[in-house]
């Protein structure tokens, strides 16, 4: 076997990604230590770590870190658990499976902004939203989702959107499960649940690792949904780190602080990634 071949095959991906990473990263590093507000580009100069200091002393900072982690954790748990369930449910043939598959993955096709507007107005509005009507139908007081449960609402929207992603990946992965292994397990006396526990889930482990890592990356930088629905509020109840950065970058136009925030987000993502990789990494190979 040609020892160079594997590297040659990887080279384009590695090289382009390296460029894609290093240039913005270097610039961001630079911006993070200078004064740089888009609205006042003339006021510039090296200011050391002041941008970082300003970012982490933001009154919403602690809450935003916690919210980020909450959002991350709950959406991942919800999508992975339900996604596995759904994938299992539609793995075996039944009438209309093809259509069900398509309908199930459709929410992923909806753009994040539309998703947010859809939930905010048509579903969760406490007066004319569909949910409110359902609550009323059962004689209950409609829930004022975005005010009472802002973070939960965001979690619901995002889970709704990412569930199809998990389902799709698990669905394809399930198909490569060797039938004979299941048969062997049955011979060993495994009930359906035990087959799930010992055969199917371990088989899905790699896909789960992939889903979790990819979702983590996306979820850590979610802001469009928050911007559109709650604007991070009430208070900082639904502000996450990405939204905090977004506020700095595109609402206050402070590129310096935003860069510092972005670097902090990279740090946070790395911490989360290292934690997750500890947890699930061995499933990757």
């Amino acid at each position: 076997m040609n020892r160079l071949l594997p590297r040659a095959l990887m080279a384009p991906a590695v090289a382009t990604l390296f460029l894609w990473m290093i240039v913005p990263l270097a610039m961001t590093l630079y911006f993070s230590v200078i004064r740089f507000n888009l609205m006042q580009p003339e006021a510039t100069g090296f200011i050391g770590l002041q941008n970082f200091e300003f970012f982490v002393t933001d009154p919403s900072f602690t809450a935003s870190v916690l919210n980020t982690l909450w959002l991350l954790g709950s959406v991942i748990v919800i999508t992975v658990v339900l996604g596995t369930g759904l994938a299992l449910l539609i793995d075996a043939p039944f009438p209309g499976r093809g259509l069900v598959r398509v309908l199930l993955i459709s929410p992923f096709f909806v753009m994040p902004t539309v998703n947010a507007l859809l939930w905010k107005h048509m579903m969760m509005n406490p007066i004319y939203g569909v949910l409110a009507q359902v609550w009323k139908f059962f004689g209950a007081e409609p829930v004022d989702w975005l005010t009472q449960w802002p973070l939960l609402s965001v979690i619901i929207m995002i889970s709704w959107q990412w569930l199809p992603f998990a389902t799709l990946i698990f669905m394809t992965a399930l198909q490569s499960l060797n039938r004979e292994q299941l048969e062997a397990a049955r011979m060993d006396g495994a009930t359906y649940l035990q087959q799930l526990r010992y055969m199917v889930l371990p088989h899905l482990a790699r896909s789960m690792a992939v889903v979790i890592m990819i979702e983590m990356i996306f979820l850590i930088s979610v802001f469009a949904e928050i911007y559109t629905t709650t604007g991070g509020g009430p208070g900082d109840a639904s502000t996450n780190v990405a939204f905090l950065i977004y506020k700095q970058a595109l609402m206050s136009f402070d590129a310096g602080v935003a860069s510092a925030g972005a670097l902090f987000a990279v740090l946070l993502a790395n911490v989360a990634a290292i934690f997750l990789i500890r947890l699930i990494g061995k499933n990757l190979d």
């Binding site: 048969e183 011979m187 495994a190 035990q194 010992y198």
Partner: protein, 354 residues
């Protein structure tokens, strides 16, 4: 009453009719060996018994209970798959202990049993490896180990030793026999190895094309095959079966009642080489195979028959040489035109020593 009873079992894979009506009654504790040509339906039959395939027609009784539709996990059988079907994400130890773990056995007991099985199968150094880090034979041994740590009602082995070297195969065969003696579990064993079939079986079932050709003890099949197929299938090298017309000497000289258009069956050991002209007919040496302890001599006779002779000595013969061929007419089996046996030859001589 039979312990495991197959009644008119049939199996279709779509248009392919694989099992064409199997009736078989197996007693508790019996060791049954299935043999038959590749593709005749042995694995399918095991899988039907295991409940891994639905039975198209017929019924299956275990211990007086109809289990035709019972789920596999409720049948309490252990099976060694022909393709191993190891759990790829589990170590060897976990593979072997899985069934016991499900049965909620005591961990100490599990450890004990698995280690014992691993010792028997020379797997001890590999207990922590995963299947993909094992050689073919090691994988097969894990598959065996997975079955033998259990004490099921019925063992199903599908060519369990095919990838093992001779020494290990002999050793494992002895262990399986011992296990069978100790547990007294009913065992169904598929093999292509004559030695395994002859030494392990209480009864051998010869299958062909999804049907049973003959059932009997190993020596019964060897000595009294019901037809030409069984005669040729049991014993290696194969019995020589030649059209009677090619060896007229048999009828003429020895006076055997050869059926018209029939066949004569001669085991290789019944064919001996004598100096040219000294036997009833001559033959040409086509091929010589020296197997160490014995030698196989492939001959073509003047009458056009192809014969194999087996002798326990080396030979100085050369390919192409003409030799005399002697035949033990007593041992000759005779078959009619349809291959049905009309006369059984005498069994091999018995040494009365000691």
């Amino acid at each position: 009453m039979a312990y495991l009873e197959l009644k008119g079992i049939q199996k279709h894979f779509g248009p392919v009719h694989t099992i064409r009506g199997i009736d078989l009654a197996i007693q508790q504790g019996e060791f049954i060996v299935f043999v038959g040509p590749s593709g005749c339906g042995k694995s399918t039959l095991l899988r039907l018994i295991a409940g891994l395939e639905t039975i198209t027609d017929g019924s299956l009784m275990l211990d007086g209970r109809d289990i035709t539709d019972a789920p596999s996990s409720k049948r309490d059988l252990a099976m060694v798959f022909q393709s191993y079907a190891l759990y790829p994400h589990m170590s060897v130890f976990e593979n072997m202990s899985f069934a016991l773990k499900l049965a909620k056995a005591d961990p100490a007991v599990i450890r004990d049993k698995v280690e014992r099985a691993a010792r028997i199968l020379n797997l001890t150094p590999y207990l922590q490896r995963t299947p993909k880090e094992l050689s073919g034979g090691q994988r097969q041994r894990v598959a065996i180990g997975r079955a033998i740590v259990r004490s099921p009602k019925v063992f199903l082995f599908d060519e369990p030793l095919s990838n093992l070297d001779a020494a290990l195969r002999g050793q494992t065969r002895v262990e399986i026999a011992r296990l069978h003696r100790e547990l007294g579990a009913t065992t169904i064993y598929v093999t292509h190895d004559q030695v395994e079939a002859m030494t392990l079986a209480d009864r051998v079932v010869v299958l062909r094309d999804g049907r049973i050709e003959q059932v009997g003890t190993p020596l019964e099949l060897y000595d009294k095959p019901a037809n030409q197929f069984v005669a040729q299938f049991i014993g290696t090298p194969q019995m020589n079966v030649v059209p009677a017309s090619q060896v007229p000497q048999l009828e003429d000289v020895c006076g055997l009642p050869v059926p018209p258009a029939g066949f004569v069956g001669l085991r290789p050991e019944s064919v001996t080489i004598v100096p040219a002209g000294q036997g009833p007919f001559n033959g040409r040496v086509e091929l010589l195979e020296a197997l160490g302890a014995e030698t196989l001599i492939y001959l073509s006779t003047e009458g056009g028959a192809q014969l194999v002779s087996r002798q326990a000595t080396r030979t100085l013969l050369q390919v192409g040489q003409t030799v005399g061929v002697a035949i033990d007419a007593d041992a000759a089996h005779l078959f009619d035109a349809q291959g049905r046996v009309t006369r059984h030859g005498a069994a091999a001589p018995v040494k009365v020593a000691a």
